[in-house]
């Protein structure tokens, strides 16, 4: 019961356009991630779906119902905030129970639901505490609990993990993924962390300056970036982009001004069917499982990730192979992908 | 067709309606009505004849000697009260900004004058100034500063300042508290930096404290001006405009004209003149302070 459709949704703050004519169809039960740099309009989009920001232009549908002008408390969506937003004057149990209390759910039922959620999120020993007596990770679990206790069909999350330390972030990430499987609800998840996006998403919408650049599966986004912005936003280290020095794939017309992209990991020992490139190794950074290299080619310098058994040393010459099929080509003027 | 208002607009309309209604009835309407009244010759003892006279009331008052006296008295009183209040408040704020034992207690004590009703304030100082039984005479004679008892409030040269003194006593605390808050917000680093640069206590006050205090000072000056210019209670209790016309201020003139002579037309006109004077003065204070730092 909850596909979300945005049709030409626009948000203007005075003369600033935060979100520009956004079209986005989010399927029922899908895990959609909105990914993009700071200030690109992710939060604004999420808030418009929630009803927390008025939509300046366009239409928002939940399934087939027009909810464009519906205030948030009528929309039946749940949301988790980056700042947790727990009510400081309520205990953990009261925080989780609050949405049900507002819906006049019978007391016994509320208690049962709160106990169930607490069990699921391992919050049972904390139920009597107040938010200021909890750690960040515990607070975020309470916020999750408050959201799932209503068993909503739409879940909105605005960078819920960005205030947590790295280890905690990983375990919360898998917790959220588990929740998605259990609840079968539609998730819209905002983040600027590509790893989070790639691991969690069914589909990712990459945004920039209030406009969606590409909407695709994580694999599609990574393998077939729609333009240079998307290509360089995902992938770590960043994709190498050179005008010259990398082989032109054969689907690119002769004479066309292009930029060629090479993902750092798409290299191998020279061999059959591979184009061979050579250059001087300028920097070697061992990363444990693999090694990162800076290699000066004729058209510029590239970053490569190679298996650690390559044993290269700085200053040496290096020859390596590139599969032309794995190269990315972009029009130099429009920066758009040139598809094979 | 139904007017399409969003849920937010509808809720806000309901939430602000009561306040706007009250303010409209009790502030906006009287203000406009009083302008209308000020254009009429209305005397309450002559209820049936109330001709429309355009700006005659204003013209007559602007030419009236009592008005000139009142403006002069009001100006002197306001300038003295505001200046002394502010200087005293800065001193008190500097003093309370120091950390020492009992500081909290003194802070609390500041609320005493602030909470005192102005009528009691007037009665209290009138009693202190009392020519025969008052504290002031007794104290000054005891300290050897005065040879014989005096009728303080009866001295036309002193009256205005003595009333002002009572006003200052009551008004200084709020000003001091406001300045204290502003002072507490000055980062310690600024003082430390100034100290490292070898600034003396006085230099630190002039170059660090005073500029940082400007927003607070501005607020205090404007607020105190607006309050002092309209003072009435003390004048009624302590002197009723006298002796002679020594404490005949604008508020007092308005009161006499309206509620003793029952000339409501001129009373309303005077009220407008006072309101304009208030705005003008506050504006001048803001301007003067704004420019010096620009």
């Amino acid at each position: 019961m909850a596909a979300i459709t945005l049709q030409g949704v626009t948000k203007r703050y005075g003369s600033v356009t935060a979100v520009q004519a956004l079209d986005l169809a989010i399927h029922e039960g899908e895990f959609m991630v909105l990914l993009g740099p700071s200030g690109c309009g992710k939060t604004t989009t999420l808030n418009m779906i929630a009803g927390l920001e008025e939509i300046s232009d366009g239409t928002l549908l939940f399934d087939t119902t027009d909810v464009t002008r519906l205030p948030p408390h009528k929309r039946e969506v749940a949301m988790v905030f980056q700042s947790y937003a727990l009510y400081p004057n309520k205990t953990v149990a009261e925080n989780i129970a609050f949405p049900l209390k507002l819906r006049r759910v019978p007391k016994a039922e509320i208690e049962r639901a709160v106990a169930g959620v607490a069990e699921q999120l391992e919050l049972t020993p904390l139920l009597g505490r107040r938010p200021n007596q909890l750690s960040g990770g515990q607070r975020q679990r309470v916020a999750l609990g408050r959201a799932i206790v209503r068993q909503p069909s739409v879940f909105l999350m605005d960078e819920p993990l960005s205030n947590l330390d790295a280890t905690l972030r990983l375990s919360m990430r898998s917790l959220i993924k588990r929740l998605h499987h259990q609840l079968k609800a539609t998730f819209v998840y905002v983040t600027h962390d590509q790893a989070e996006a790639l691991t969690l998403a069914d589909r990712i919408a990459v945004m920039r300056g209030g406009v969606v650049q590409q909407l695709d599966t994580p694999e599609g986004i990574y393998e077939r970036p729609a333009n240079i912005f998307v290509a360089s936003f995902l992938g770590s280290p960043q994709i190498n982009l050179l005008r010259e020095g990398l082989p032109r794939p054969d689907w690119v017309a002769e004479g066309r001004d292009v930029i060629i992209g090479l993902r750092p990991e798409d290299v191998a020992r020279p061999g059959e069917g591979l184009a061979t490139l050579g250059g001087r190794v300028e920097l070697v950074s061992p990363l444990g499982s693999e090694t990162q290299l800076e290699v000066a080619l004729s058209g510029g310098s590239v970053t490569l990730r190679v298996p650690k058994d390559w044993r290269v040393r700085e200053g040496e010459a290096l020859e390596f192979g590139v599969d032309p099929a794995r190269l990315h080509a972009f029009d130099a003027a429009t920066e758009q992908r040139i598809a094979p | 067709m139904r007017l399409r208002l969003s849920y937010d607009d509808r809720s806000a309309a309901i939430l602000v309606f009561p306040v706007l209604a009250v303010l409209l009835v009790v502030a906006a309407y009287p203000i406009l009505y009083s302008f209308w009244v000020s254009l009429h010759d209305i005397v309450l003892t002559r209820p049936l004849r109330r001709p429309f006279v355009w700006f005659e009331n204003y013209e007559r008052m602007l030419g009236d000697a009592r008005f000139h006296t009142a403006v002069l008295r009001t100006t002197v009183y306001t300038v003295v009260t505001v200046t002394v209040t502010t200087v005293l408040a800065v001193g008190v704020a500097l003093f309370l900004n120091e950390s020492f034992r009992g500081n909290k207690l003194l802070n609390a004590l500041l609320l005493l004058p602030w909470a005192t009703p102005s009528i009691v304030n007037g009665l209290m100082w009138k009693w202190i100034y009392d020519p025969t039984y008052g504290l002031m005479n007794a104290l000054l004679v005891k300290l050897g500063l005065l040879d014989s008892y005096r009728a303080w409030l009866g001295d036309p040269d002193l009256t205005l300042f003595l009333i002002s003194n009572a006003a200052i006593w009551k008004q200084m605390p709020l000003a001091a508290l406001l300045l204290l808050v502003t002072m507490k917000a000055i980062p310690d680093d600024l003082y430390r930096a100034a100290k490292v640069d070898g600034a003396t206590v006085f230099q630190r006050f002039v170059h660090v404290t005073l500029p940082a205090l400007k927003p607070g000072l501005m607020l205090v000056l404007v607020y105190e001006t607006m309050i002092s210019i309209r003072h009435f209670d003390l004048f009624l209790i302590m002197t009723q405009g006298g002796p002679g016309d020594a404490s005949y201020t604008l508020s007092w003139l308005i009161y006499v004209e309206t509620f003793r002579s029952l000339r409501f037309g001129t009373g309303a006109a005077l009220s407008y003149l006072l309101a304009m004077l208030t705005f003008l003065l506050s504006w001048l204070v803001i301007r003067a302070l704004g420019e010096r730092n620009a």
Partner: protein, 291 residues
């Protein structure tokens, strides 16, 4: 050492200046008329007693109070003091309560909701704060007289609302703006409308500001003189400041009695100020740092 000496000196001067006048008033109120009219005056009451106060509280009982011999004369209006105290209390409580109800909703709307006309509303409220009340008195008197509401405490309450509401709204707005916006968002998501957000988020989280607002409204109406003077003309409807002002201007009144009446009028506000000191200071200065 020098610093400590200076601080002690300043502290002494400070206490003398701030508390001295009130202490003398208190001392005078505890003396008999014969003691109070001694020259030079008694700094401390030679025989401290509450006789002036008991005279006030029994003034309504019998006629014999008029001449208390050595205790001096009571004004004929002395019997009005207790009723006026009750009037002041009544008006103060009503103003405090209504002021909060009105200001709370308006402050919430202005601080939280992004509605058409938000700025206009804010400026209207602020503008009424700068009108001098002496300029309001004349028209208010005419309006209320035309409505036949002179001598009604209700008219007084409404007038005081106009004086106190803008200030309260000002305090509450600056307090509300300090409450994290995400809490509001969370409450809306959880199912609160604007009433719900006000009740479940803003109300419980702004108790200090609410207490301060209540105090101001009560103190303002308790202390107010000019409107009360003009809008009430018979003693049954008059508030404490008016009755006391009457005593002061009546030359037959004994000093000890006036002083005791003054102490009675000072007591409630000072007690409130002491009890709620923390809230009052933070409330008073709420807008100062920002604005």
């Amino acid at each position: 050492m020098a610093r400590r000496l200076m601080l002690a000196l300043f502290s002494a001067l400070f206490v003398l200046y701030v508390a001295g006048p009130v202490l003398w008033l208190l001392s005078s109120s505890l003396q008999m008329e014969s003691e109070i009219t001694a020259v030079p005056p008694n700094w401390l009451p030679p025989h401290p007693g509450l006789h002036n106060f008991s005279a006030i509280f029994s003034a309504g009982d019998s006629a014999e109070y008029v001449n208390r011999g050595i205790a001096g004369f009571l004004p004929s209006g002395a019997a009005n003091l207790l009723p006026s105290l009750y009037n002041s209390l009544q008006v103060g409580l009503w103003v405090a309560a209504l002021n909060l109800v009105f200001s709370l909703t308006a402050a919430y709307a202005i601080a939280v909701i992004d509605f058409k006309g938000r700025r206009a509303t804010l400026y209207t409220v602020l503008a009424t704060r700068v009108i001098p009340d002496i300029a309001l008195v004349v028209p208010m008197f005419l309006v209320i007289r035309n409505l036949g509401l002179i001598n009604s405490l209700g008219a007084l309450v409404v007038t005081y609302l106009a004086v106190t509401v803008p200030f309260t709204i000002f305090i509450l707005i600056s307090y509300f703006e300090g409450i994290p916006r995400d809490l509001y968002r969370a409450s809306r998501i959880d199912g609160c409308g604007h009433w719900g957000a006000l009740r479940h988020v803003y109300l419980p989280l702004s108790l200090p500001a609410l207490v301060a607002a209540l105090m101001f409204a009560f103190l303002t109406s308790w202390n107010e003189f000019l409107f009360a003077l003009v809008l009430t003309q018979n003693v049954a409807a008059q508030t404490l400041p008016i009755i006391i002002a009457g005593f002061v201007m009546d030359f037959t009144t004994s000093f000890s009695f006036v002083n005791a009446a003054g102490v009675i009028a000072i007591l409630p506000p000072v007690l409130l100020a002491v009890i709620f000191q923390r809230y009052i200071v933070s409330g008073l200065t709420a807008g100062a740092v920002k604005g």
